[in-house]
C-alpha cells in the first residue's frame, strides 16, 4: 500500500473510552471509503493492522477517550508532538467522559480499598479531557459524536478551511427539525436550552427530554433553566444528577462545583483534583 506523500495522513487514537466514537468514524461507511481515497489512514488500530512507514508526523489525529492513566498522560504528549492538527472526538476526550465521575468521588477509596488487589491497577486519580494535557485544535462533542459533524469536520480540514462546530443549543435543532418543544407542549424536563447542538435533537423527537450528552453550549444559562426543571416536577437530586453524567466535568466547571455534588458517593467528600 504505497503512501502518496501528497495526501494527508490521518491517525485515529483511543484513550479511556467505549470505542463508540471510533465506531462512528467507521460508520462514515461510504464516506470513509471515499475519504480513504483522499487521505492515507496511517494509524487506526481498530480498523486495520497496517501501519504506514514511520510513526508520524500525522496531518490530522482524531483522539477518542479521556486521560486516566499515567501511560495515557505520556502518550497524548507524543500524539500531540506527532500531529499537525489534533481533534478530540466525543465526551470522554473533550470533557473527561462519564468516567470523570471519579474526580468527584473519593479516589483513594477507589484506588486503595475498592479493589481486591489495587496494586494490579494503574490509574490516575482523575479522568481529564485531552485539552487539560496538550493544546487541542478542534473539539467535537457528543456521547457519541454525530457522524455528520465528523464528516463536516474532516471535509473542512481536507479543503483547508476552518471547521464549523456549532456553539448554539439543541433548541435550534428542534426548531429546524420541526419538533414541538417537549417542555412547553408536554411538560417534559429538557436540557436542550443549555446543551450544545450537533446530535440532530434526537431525544425530543422521541418524546424524551435532552439529557445533555453533547455537553454545555457556548455560554449556557444553566441558572435560568434549573428552576424550570424543578417547576416541571424534577426533584433537586435528579437535576444535580442529570448534569453530573456524561459531561460531568464540563457542567461542573460551569456550576462552580455544584453539578457534581450528587455524584459523590458520600456527601462532603471531594477529591482535590478537578477534571476540568
Amino acid at each position: 500500500m504505497p503512501a502518496d506523500s501528497a495526501r494527508p495522513r490521518l491517525a485515529v487514537w483511543k484513550l479511556a473510552s467505549c470505542d463508540g466514537c471510533q465506531l462512528t468514524v467507521l460508520d462514515c461507511q461510504d464516506e470513509l471509503l471515499a475519504l480513504a481515497g483522499e487521505m492515507d489512514i496511517a494509524h487506526f488500530t481498530e480498523a486495520t493492522s497496517a501501519e504506514l512507514p514511520g510513526p508520524g508526523p500525522f496531518d490530522v489525529s482524531l483522539v477518542e477517550g479521556s486521560v486516566s492513566t499515567p501511560a495515557d498522560a505520556a502518550r497524548i504528549k507524543q500524539i500531540r508532538a506527532d500531529s499537525r492538527t489534533l481533534v478530540t472526538i466525543g465526551a470522554c476526550a473533550t470533557a473527561g467522559g462519564i468516567q470523570a465521575l471519579r474526580n468527584f468521588g473519593d479516589v483513594a477509596e477507589f484506588a486503595s480499598t475498592v479493589y481486591a488487589r489495587p496494586d494490579y491497577i494503574a490509574a490516575l486519580a482523575t479522568s481529564t479531557p485531552v485539552s487539560s494535557h496538550v493544546p487541542v485544535d478542534f473539539e467535537l462533542p457528543g456521547c457519541p459524536i454525530d457522524k455528520h459533524e465528523l464528516i463536516g469536520l474532516l471535509s473542512a480540514l481536507l479543503a483547508g478551511r476552518e471547521p464549523r462546530i456549532p456553539g448554539h443549543s439543541v433548541c435550534e435543532q428542534c426548531k429546524l427539525r420541526g419538533t414541538a418543544c417537549v417542555m412547553v407542549a408536554r411538560g417534559t424536563p429538557c436540557l436542550g436550552p443549555v446543551t450544545q447542538a450537533g446530535c440532530g435533537a434526537i431525544c425530543p423527537a422521541f418524546g424524551r427530554g435532552c439529557y445533555g450528552c453533547f455537553g454545555p453550549m457556548t455560554a449556557p444559562n444553566v441558572g435560568a433553566l434549573v428552576p424550570w426543571l424543578g417547576r416541571l416536577g424534577m426533584p433537586d437530586s435528579d437535576i444535580r444528577r442529570v448534569f453530573a453524567t456524561f459531561n460531568v466535568a464540563a457542567f461542573d466547571r460551569l456550576a462552580g462545583g455544584s453539578a457534581a455534588a450528587a455524584a459523590r458517593p458520600e456527601p462532603g467528600r471531594r477529591h482535590p483534583g478537578s477534571g476540568a
Binding site: M1, K14, L15, A16, S17, C18, D19, G20, C21, Q22, L23, T24, L26, D27, Q29, D30, L33, A36, I41, F44, T45, E46, A47, T48, S49, A50, S68, T69, A71, D72, G97, I98, Q99, L101, R102, G105, E109, T113, V114, Y115, A116, R117, Y120, A123, S127, C143, P144, I202, C203, F206, G207, R208, C213, R241, T245, F246, A262, A263, R264, P265
Partner: protein, 433 residues
C-alpha cells in the same frame, strides 16, 4: 523443527479488536510456559459510580461501557431493574426490544465479519485495504451494517448509545407505517446476509477443536437474544438470579478484566456465538437453519476460526427475526409500563453479540442503586482464550516469531474480544477495614 531454546513474544496493540490489549507468550524448548492476554484498557470504575444513582439511570450509563453493544447493556440493565421491581415486560414492548437487539447483532456481527475478521482469511491488514481490491464485497458488509444501524436508528434514535430505551419500555414507539421502509431494507439485506454465509463458508479454516464447556441463554422455541435462562453443554441450567452462584470471578495480575470459571469445574468455559449455536442451533429460523446446513456447520461448532460462519448465520437469523417482528407488530397502547422502585435486588441476562452479559442491581426503597455488578462476555472468555492460544501455539512452535504473532492475533480475533467491555469489571466490593 527449528526453534530457539527460550522465546518470549509480545504483540503490543492487537489490531482490529474493540479496546486495547496485547499478548505475551513464553516458550522454553518445546513447551509453552505461559500465555497471557494482557488487557491494558484503562479501568473506568462503572460499578463504583453507579452507586447512588437512580434506578432509571443504569441503561443509559452502562450503555457507555461499550459503543459496539450498547443495546446489550441497556437490555441486561433494564431486565435486572425490572426484576428487582417485580415487573415483567411482555407483548409488543418486549418484541420491540428484541427488534432493537436484532439491529445490534446485525451491525456488530457485520462489523466483525467484514472489518475485523475476514481480512485475516484473505491476507489483508484491514477492510480499507480489502476494499481497494474487492470493493463490492466490502460494500456488501457496509450495506448489512447499515441495515442493523437502521433498526437501531428507527427504534432507538441512533446507532451508538440509543436514546429511546428506558426501564419499563421506550419513550415512544413507532406506528406500523413507520416500519414499512425498514422492512423493505431488511428484505434486501437478507439476500446480502445469505451471500455472506456462502462467502465466509468458503474460507480456509485452521484445524482447532476446543473442549470448553459451552454457556449460553436458552429460550425454547426461539434463538436466544434478549432474554432466557442460562444453560451449558455440561448440563447446567439456571436463572439469572443464580448467575453468581454458578460463575466465579477471579482477579489476575496482568489484566484489568477479571477471569471467570464455572462453580464446581476446574475447566474453562466459553460464551458467545459458538456456545449459542452449539446449544441452540435447533431454534434457528428457517433461512438461517438452511444457510447453516449449506455452510456445513452441523448441530454444533467447536472451531473458533469458524465462528465467522456462525456470526454470518446469526446475521441471517437476526434479519429474519426482525422482519417477522415488524410484520406481526401492533403498537402497544403505551410506550412503557410503570416501574415503581422497591428495596430489592434484581438480576438480568441477555446475549450480547459476544456472549452472555449479566447485570445485578441492589436498590433501596427510594430507588437508589446500592450496589451493582456487571459480568461481560469477554472477561468470562479470557481464560478460555488463553487456554486455546496455548494449544494453538504449542502446535505451531516451528513458526517464526513474526508468523506466530500474526496467527495468534488472528486466533484472538476469532473471539471478537471486546476489551472495552471486559476491562471495567474488577470486583468493586468495598472492603473497609
Amino acid at each position: 523443527m527449528t526453534h530457539k531454546r527460550e522465546r518470549t513474544l509480545v504483540t503490543a496493540g492487537i489490531a482490529r479488536v474493540e479496546g486495547e490489549g496485547s499478548l505475551y507468550l513464553r516458550v522454553s524448548g518445546d513447551q509453552v510456559d505461559e500465555v497471557r492476554l494482557d488487557i491494558y484498557e484503562p479501568p473506568r470504575f462503572f460499578e463504583a459510580f453507579l452507586r447512588g444513582r437512580s434506578y432509571r439511570e443504569p441503561p443509559d450509563i452502562t450503555a457507555r461501557i461499550c459503543g459496539i453493544c450498547p443495546v446489550a447493556y441497556q437490555t441486561s440493565a433494564a431486565l435486572a431493574i425490572e426484576a428487582a421491581c417485580g415487573v415483567r415486560i411482555d407483548g409488543p414492548i418486549a418484541d420491540l426490544r428484541r427488534l432493537l437487539y436484532c439491529g445490534e447483532w446485525i451491525a456488530s456481527h457485520a462489523l466483525h465479519i467484514y472489518f475485523l475478521h475476514a481480512p485475516d482469511f484473505l491476507g489483508y491488514p484491514g477492510a480499507i485495504e480489502l476494499a481497494r481490491d474487492q470493493r463490492a464485497i466490502v460494500e456488501r458488509g457496509l450495506k448489512l451494517r447499515r441495515a442493523g444501524n437502521a433498526i437501531m436508528e428507527t427504534i432507538g434514535g441512533r446507532a451508538v448509545h440509543p436514546v429511546n430505551f428506558q426501564v419499563g419500555g421506550f419513550y415512544s414507539v413507532p406506528a406500523r407505517a413507520d416500519l414499512s421502509g425498514l422492512a423493505d431494507q431488511l428484505r434486501a439485506a437478507l439476500d446480502e446476509a445469505l451471500e455472506t454465509v456462502t462467502w465466509v463458508a468458503g474460507f480456509d479454516f485452521p484445524e482447532l477443536t476446543v473442549e470448553h464447556e459451552m454457556l449460553a441463554l436458552s429460550q425454547p422455541g426461539s434463538y436466544p437474544i434478549e432474554s432466557g435462562s442460562v444453560v451449558s453443554s455440561g448440563g447446567r441450567e439456571f436463572a439469572a438470579a443464580e448467575f453468581e452462584r454458578n460463575v466465579i470471578e477471579m482477579q489476575v495480575p496482568h489484566s484489568t478484566a477479571l477471569h471467570a470459571r464455572l462453580a464446581g469445574s476446574e475447566g474453562t468455559y466459553l460464551t458467545g456465538p459458538l456456545a449459542r449455536y452449539t446449544l441452540n442451533s435447533r431454534w434457528l429460523p428457517p433461512a438461517a437453519a438452511a444457510a447453516a446446513a449449506a455452510a456445513g456447520l452441523g448441530d454444533s461448532c467447536r472451531n473458533p476460526f469458524r465462528s465467522i460462519v456462525v456470526r454470518a448465520v446469526e446475521v441471517v437469523c437476526a434479519i429474519e427475526e426482525a422482519i417477522r417482528i415488524i410484520e406481526a407488530y401492533r403498537p402497544p397502547s403505551r410506550p412503557s409500563v410503570e416501574v415503581a422502585a422497591q428495596a430489592a435486588t434484581g438480576h438480568g441476562v441477555s446475549e450480547a453479540p459476544r456472549g452472555v452479559l449479566y447485570h445485578r442491581y441492589e436498590l433501596d426503597s427510594a430507588g437508589s442503586v446500592v450496589s451493582a455488578r456487571i459480568i461481560p462476555p469477554t472477561s468470562q472468555n479470557q481464560a478460555a482464550i488463553e487456554r486455546d492460544l496455548r494449544q494453538f501455539v504449542q502446535a505451531r512452535l516451528e513458526l517464526t516469531d513474526e508468523q506466530l504473532a500474526g496467527q495468534c492475533e488472528q486466533a484472538i480475533r476469532n473471539y471478537d474480544p471486546c476489551i472495552s467491555c471486559a476491562t471495567h469489571f474488577l470486583d468493586l466490593q468495598v472492603d473497609r477495614t
